[in-house]
């Protein structure tokens, strides 16, 4: 198992290099280091010396991918791409174009993101599984068909509608919680209730429908018929037989998401004014801050790869027959 994990982590390196290469190419196709310097220095008419100065200071005074003047390995290593990538692998994200330290920013902004994303994730799974189990109890009846239609209808509503509708109804009309904002002291929960609620409700349609399919697939298996023939009650069939056996497909879809919870949700955070990583990314996109976008892409990729690894490990826990090798 240990060897397996190490091997998987080694596989991650070429993927991360590829990710970096892609973001770099995308960015520098249209944006030369000179353009970056000019836009960061802010002036329409900047002197060439100022640009050269800025490039020197921020480490953009080398060729992009290939340094034909250097000798040997230096052709590849003495470039902007290599410098910036190596730093990323050491988790040194450097400074954003506005001069803030990205590593500190990420470390502080991670927690508000997690405060919203984790409850949404856990409550969401609980609610979806309960709803799905309830529907599966009534499988083949009109109630089941009606519920599936409702799920599809819920899925068809835009995420933006849930957010705007939730803010309008709960915060503006009923005045139960603030419309948006975030506090680290005092009644934090007041600011968290609405985003979590919106996130959970928005996910019910797709989530419950997916769990229902998984449970139904299990409900048609032979062991369920056997259990029923032995005289098990429907409830014990649902919870003791179907649920544990549906764990593997559930884990496949769910575990991979856990590390990404740190990244937060772009839409929820920007609508509710939560100072997490999601709104950080959105701001970076809008101000075209390449250093932040690159760091976030890198972090996102790492978290995804960790998620895949966790999924594999969780299989061994859910199904003793699975051996990682």
């Amino acid at each position: 198992m240990f060897a397996y994990i190490v091997r998987r982590l080694l596989y991650a390196i070429p993927i991360l290099i590829g990710v970096n290469l892609l973001t770099f190419t995308l960015f520098f196709v249209v944006n030369s280091p000179d353009d970056m310097a000019a836009s960061q220095l802010g002036d329409k008419y900047v002197t060439p010396e100022a640009i050269a100065n800025w490039k020197q200071k921020n480490g953009y005074d080398k060729p992009l991918f290939l340094n034909s003047q250097a000798a040997g390995v230096g052709q590849v290593t003495d470039t902007i791409f290599f410098d910036k990538s190596v730093r990323l692998f050491a988790f040194d994200f450097g400074r954003s174009e506005s001069g803030r330290d990205i590593t500190t920013d990420v470390a502080t902004r991670m927690w508000p993101s997690l405060a919203v994303a984790l409850p949404t994730f856990l409550v969401g799974i609980g609610v979806n599984i309960c709803v799905a189990l309830m529907v599966v109890m009534f499988r083949g009846t009109r109630l089941d068909r009606g519920a599936v239609f409702v799920f599809v209808a819920l899925m068809s509503i835009s995420y933006l509608f849930y957010i705007i509708g939730g803010q309008f109804l709960v915060a503006k009309t009923w005045r139960l919680v603030p419309i948006s904002g975030f506090h680290t002291e005092g009644q934090v929960w007041k600011f968290l209730v609405l985003p979590v609620l919106v996130g959970v409700v928005a996910g019910i349609g797709a989530g419950a429908r997916w769990y229902r399919t998984l449970f139904l697939e299990e409900a048609n298996q032979d062991y369920v018929r056997t259990a029923r023939a032995k005289g098990c009650s429907e409830l014990s069939i649902l919870f003791r037989h179907i649920l544990p056996n549906a764990l593997i497909p559930i884990l496949t879809g769910v575990v991979v998401l856990i590390p990404s919870l740190f990244m937060g949700s772009l839409l929820i955070e920007s609508f509710f004014g939560i100072p997490g990583l999601g709104s950080y990314m959105l701001d970076a996109i809008n101000s075209q801050d390449f250093a932040i976008v690159r760091s976030m892409v890198f972090i996102g990729s790492i978290l995804y790869i960790v998620g895949l690894l966790l999924t594999d490990i969780s299989y061994t826990w859910a199904d003793p027959r699975v051996r990682l090798s």
Partner: protein, 456 residues
């Protein structure tokens, strides 16, 4: 009049024609016929399909663009014809110029007065501050109180016209298809409702703003209808870009295995490990910069918006092929182990022929299911992307742009709800119909579900 062919117009017509040809070629294939008969044997499938077809029809009509010839004033001595800078479509003509009736700013649905007070002159010429009357609503009314009665009378006459239209459209279908085993009645009923609603909308909108107007004074209903083209085109064109990449790479990886498989797997793992929205945002920003650097490529503003739109479809397609590719690779791996492929190998059939005749036809169901499933997801994604600011051009009507422009209006007092309602309603109906239809298509074409039903 001078026809204008935008790139997206050409692509959507090309797509529709090739789809029609594809189904025409397959019309005698018994298996395909059976599957489709299964989809359409449910009334829900009929209704959903009719709604989708209506949306597509609107999108196609809205894709026939032209520029009107301007009438030269008498004083101008030249015979040269000048054209309007504004690009219109056949759909604009059919709706009777709904989009040309601008107000000054917000107005509520069916309102006669503007939403905000302005300085106006009263009957005796004094300056007062009051709600000014709208320019294009209820001009024919002698007194504001007649409004309700007027709307009722106009509705009845519009519905009568609608029924006549229904008779014209549905009777030929009835004569042709009455012996069919499929539930066509459900489709006719839907067509009837859509036709009546259409007739009502066009006739009432001459006298009122049915869904009010937005901040710039544009008719909200017209904008929501214009959003249909954007939504439908984005949903289909992005998938069209994705399909060839995903199918080619997936089939090659699954069939040739070895280093080809390694490369393809590396490519899609790398791509899918990047947070999707960041990748899309970065690519769109990149294209934006490119357009800003080369402004003289496009003759009218609409062409620039169109180029951005095509780029968006392209970007969405290129960034989303990994899921389909993975599915097709797995299926191809399975198929290439089967006896008939091995036999073809033994007979010395070439790789390209095996792929074309034995492998590709057997992954078509996956492609079809993905195509229908992705459609609704893309329509929803458009709204989100436009909100973030990396969606379609603001000059191009789209539901996402409407929502983005209106989201702060709910906090006003009294609430301005109609812009959001219009956008969400038209988006919801399309996505719901597409989702329901995709469920039926998957049930009919996915061998796993058909197998399960055979056992039951």
């Amino acid at each position: 009049m001078k026809p204008v062919l935008l790139w997206s117009d050409a692509l959507i017509f090309l797509l529709v024609i090739s789809l029609a040809l594809f189904f025409w070629r397959l019309r005698h294939d018994p298996q395909t016929r059976e599957r489709w008969a299964e989809v359409f044997s449910s009334r829900l499938g009929m209704v959903a399909f009719t709604i989708i077809a209506a949306y597509i029809l609107v999108a196609l009509l809205d894709s026939l663009h032209f520029r009107r010839a301007l009438e030269n004033p008498e004083s101008l001595a030249t015979q040269e014809v000048f054209y309007d800078n504004k690009v219109s479509s056949v759909f604009d003509v059919l709706t009777g110029g709904m989009g040309d009736r601008f107000e000054r700013t917000y107005s509520a649905p069916f309102a006669l007065l503007s939403f905000e007070k302005e300085n106006i002159k009263d009957a005796s010429g004094r300056d007062i501050r009051d709600f000014p009357p709208l320019r294009h609503a209820g001009q024919h009314l002698a007194h504001p109180d007649e409004r309700t009665a007027d709307i009722l009378v106009k509705s009845v006459s519009a519905l009568l016209w609608g029924l006549l239209l229904c008779a014209l459209v549905i009777t030929p279908q009835w004569l042709l298809l009455r012996g069919s085993a499929l539930p066509w009645a459900a489709s006719w009923l839907t067509q009837g409702v859509i036709l009546c609603a259409g007739a009502w909308t066009v006739s009432i909108s001459h006298h009122y703003h049915i869904l009010g107007t937005d901040q710039g004074g544009a008719d909200v209903l017209y904008q929501s209808l214009k959003g249909i083209r954007t939504g439908v085109l984005l949903g289909t064109l992005a998938t069209l870009v994705m399909l060839p990449i995903a199918v080619t790479l997936g089939v090659m990886a699954g069939y040739f295995k070895g280093w080809v498989d390694d490369v393809v797997q590396y490519l899609y793992t790398t791509l899918s490990s990047i947070p999707g929205i960041l990748l899309i945002a970065a690519s769109v920003l990149l294209f934006q910069v490119y357009i800003d650097l080369n402004p003289d490529f496009f003759a009218v503003g609409m062409e620039k918006a169109d180029a951005k739109f095509i780029a968006l479809c392209f970007i969405l397609g290129v960034t989303s092929w990994s899921t389909l590719c993975r599915l097709i690779r797995a299926e191809t791996l399975k198929i290439s182990q089967l006896g008939y492929v091995q036999a073809a190998h033994a007979f010395g059939v070439s790789h390209s022929r095996i792929l074309g005749r034995h492998v590709l036809p057997n992954v078509v169901h996956i492609i079809l299911i993905t195509f229908v499933l992705d459609f609704s997801a893309l329509v929803l994604a458009e709204a989100v992307l436009s909100y973030i600011g990396v969606g379609v051009d603001p000059s191009m009507g789209s539901w996402g742009n409407m929502i983005n422009g209106a989201r702060s209006e709910l906090s006003r007092e009294p609430t301005i709800w109609w812009t959001l309602t219009g956008a969400f309603f038209f988006m919801f109906i399309l996505v719901l119909a597409a989702n329901l239809f995709s469920d039926l298509v998957r049930d009919a074409f996915d061998p796993r579900t058909s197998l399960r039903r055979a056992e039951a």
